[in-house]
Symmetry: C2
């Protein structure tokens, strides 16, 4: 008789993998079904390769900052072929380590596309043919993929999605980026450091539209100074490969041309072909799985990560996965609480955000105050010759409720800021905490202690 | 009739300046007596100029790390004359801003050497002759200066202290550093990035002797790989200028020679010539002011910062200064509590420490466990091609009591780590906190969740 698993997980990205490790480590009989590679988008086509690109190209940025101060001279050249080899090797090694971890813990890894055939029963299309799996609990963690719009569909020749760009053997001399969200901004920066001239187009009137508008302003100022051609608030009619070029046509008819174009216009959930309707799981209009307070999509069916559309961030997926396993083990019966969720844009500048933002609070009719500090007053920002940016705090009822920052290195504030929001720090808490000196973190101290004003 | 000040402060370094700003801002009639420059050692001859050197030279380090991975090629040259001009300009501008701040708040800045002439009464040797000041409360924040030993006295020619090195117009091709503490290590790193061949000598058998021994081991391995000639556990008989060289003679007779030598063998308190005996203030054997639980050295006489010898760190001085002003304002009558004190070594690698270390706990007979994570497993360490190092946690009674880390960029853990020690986090707290991904901070998460073992 076939095994009935305590938990079957669809998808081996951050949410699914972490759930498998925790569940198996706690004694649950667990299977993980993965149609492509362990690690999902984050490891293979997202956060990690992008960070390897940004890390490798950082010397270009660091030199440029000091050269502008006339303190340093020189040149840095990035060998993209070598970088790609290093990236691919690191990712493969990480996947292998993940696989070994699962094996050690006794997780059955089933490679293939899983499809629900009824309550408690799943069929996986493996390379050896269909394989049936029985489960007591199912976790759907199938993630998301790059989105596209009519006329904005990557053709894999000169018009690429993020996966295609990250696989390029050499950097084009010019790149049109469609989409000014985090993915577009990180890739554009890495590409520029490797020599690409950047044109960035977005239908929104500002970069990083999910962020505080003051953050967008700083980003726009910095990238303009770096020579980017920013086309904001304009709609794209089409992007196509024409000969050796990617040609973008704006709604007004103007044409822009470059060696390549990157389409980075958001992501779409992987919910098709899973057989979710067999279980009565419902989807949102955009195709995300609807989940109740306990991340349940149907009885004994949980959904975590991008696929539930709550928060498209790897660490949100991991956090939700931890909750689901705790719940399966009977350690909690409370609804899922994310707490303040940190998000980070890497590059130069970096952006960090956690908790509620001023605009958001105002839209909710909540009365908030804000306080700010500029990075230019911070000696570490001065030492790195990267002084554009600020830290902004949002206060509600005398307690810190949200923090955002933009500027070189501000991601270092993320954990601390998230924690003090969770704790609901007051001004007095900030006064009595010993911030080390000199640190960029003191810009957060300065913002916490600055005079508050209406948002 | 002359003013009687609520508070007279001796010394305008971080402790004295912050006390003046807070006291005057809260309505206390305040005078600040400073014999040299506002900002003290930290701004003028310590933390800040060193960080400007390290920041400016960081592109050298960043390029070297990626070049070792064969991902980047190129060269970076630092123009020390330009860097010195930038440093001097920044420091002068900061001093001016501090002066303006004091003026705005109505603090009387009295330039000159202050000397206590009796309880409530002080005489300042100003350039216009002696000036008498009366006070209700006195705060001594006169700081410290570079120390020396017989035979190890900077002569200002080829044998320099940190002040002398920071004023050099061009970098010597070779530098002997006497002292493997934080000052010696930061300066040696900056000097090496500007082309100096480093020889480092210390009587202690390991670098950074105040840190966890495992931290010392990593530092030694990294600096050896960078080509430093490390001479640890050896005593120095003398260092002298001989012709165009600094010549160091070891106790065994061996001679080492270089273009310059830096003496960085600790610091000495500035307590002489202050007239402290007139008030019955007592000093330790090393000359530090003894302070009781409320930072009192005598009735209505407080001492903060380096001069009380509690903790020779700028942020400790500021934290103590805040306490003293709170006490003067009647807002606290509790004894002074520092909480966990973070300390940071900058450079590559960085070192961070807060709370109790394993060796320290064992010496106190306290039973502790430790847990560790290596940076090589962290994707951001991989992205920056700087994977040497680790995070180590010290646990007491199931709560986190100390954290140290060594490796590129680990200073970013400092605030968060200090706070979770203050909060006494358990393993469960670490499990339920949402660490952003990918971040170097996840190496702290990994250390917090790793298996604990005997220290």
């Amino acid at each position: 008789m076939a095994t009935t698993y305590d938990l079957v997980i669809l998808g081996g990205g951050p949410g699914g993998f972490d759930a498998a490790v925790e569940a198996a480590g706690s004694g649950l009989k667990t299977a993980l079904v993965e149609a492509a590679e362990l690690g999902g988008t984050c490891l293979n086509r997202g956060c990690i390769p992008t960070k390897l690109w940004l890390g490798a190209t950082e010397p270009v940025e660091a030199l440029a900052a000091q050269a502008k101060m006339r303190v340093a001279t020189g040149s840095v050249h990035i060998d993209l072929a070598a970088l790609q080899a290093r990236k691919d090797k690191y990712i493969a090694a990480t996947r292998k380590a993940m696989q070994q971890r699962l094996a050690q813990l006794g997780v059955d890894l089933v490679p293939g596309l899983g499809r629900i055939v009824g309550a408690g029963s799943l069929e996986v299309a493996t390379s050896d043919g269909p394989k049936a799996l029985s489960y007591r609990n199912l976790l759907v963690a199938t993630g998301s993929r790059p989105g596209s719009f009519p006329g904005l569909t990557p053709d894999g020749v000169r018009v690429l999605d993020s996966t295609g760009l990250l696989a390029l053997p050499e950097m084009p001399q010019s790149l049109i980026v469609v989409g000014g969200g985090f993915i577009g901004l990180e890739m554009a920066q890495a590409a520029q450091r490797m020599g690409a001239k950047i044109t960035l187009v977005d239908a929104l009137p500002r970069l990083a539209g999910a962020e505080d508008p003051e953050v967008s302003k700083t980003l726009e100022a910095v990238f303009k100074r770096q020579g980017w051609d920013l086309r904001l608030g304009v709609k794209v009619a089409s992007v196509k490969t024409r000969g050796d070029n990617a040609v973008l046509v704006l709604d007004g008819g103007e044409e822009l041309s470059a060696d390549c174009a990157l389409i980075a216009v958001g992501r779409r959930p992987n919910t098709a072909d899973l057989g979710l309707d067999a279980l009565g799981v419902t989807l949102t209009g955009a195709g995300y799985i609807k989940t109740a307070a306990q991340l349940l999509a149907a009885p004994n069916v949980f959904a975590v990560g991008d696929v539930n559309g709550r928060m498209l961030l790897a660490h949100a997926a991991s956090h939700q996965a931890h909750y689901v396993v705790e719940r399966l083990l009977g350690r909690t019966s409370e609804p899922y609480e994310s707490g303040p969720v940190p998000s980070i844009l890497y590059g130069a500048p970096e952006v960090f955000r956690a908790g509620i933002m001023a605009e958001e609070a105002k839209a909710l009719g909540s009365s908030v105050l804000v306080s700010r500090a500029q990075l230019i007053a911070n000696p570490m920002a001065q030492a790195h010759a990267a002084t554009a940016g600020f830290v902004k705090c949002v206060w509600r009822d005398g307690k810190i409720a949200g923090i955002t920052a933009v500027g070189a290195g501000v991601s270092r504030l993320a954990c601390f800021a998230t924690l003090i929001i969770k704790l609901g720090w007051t001004r007095e808490d900030a006064e009595t905490f010993m911030f080390p000196h000199p640190t960029l973190d003191e810009s957060l101290k300065a913002a916490l202690l600055a005079d508050k004003e209406a948002a």
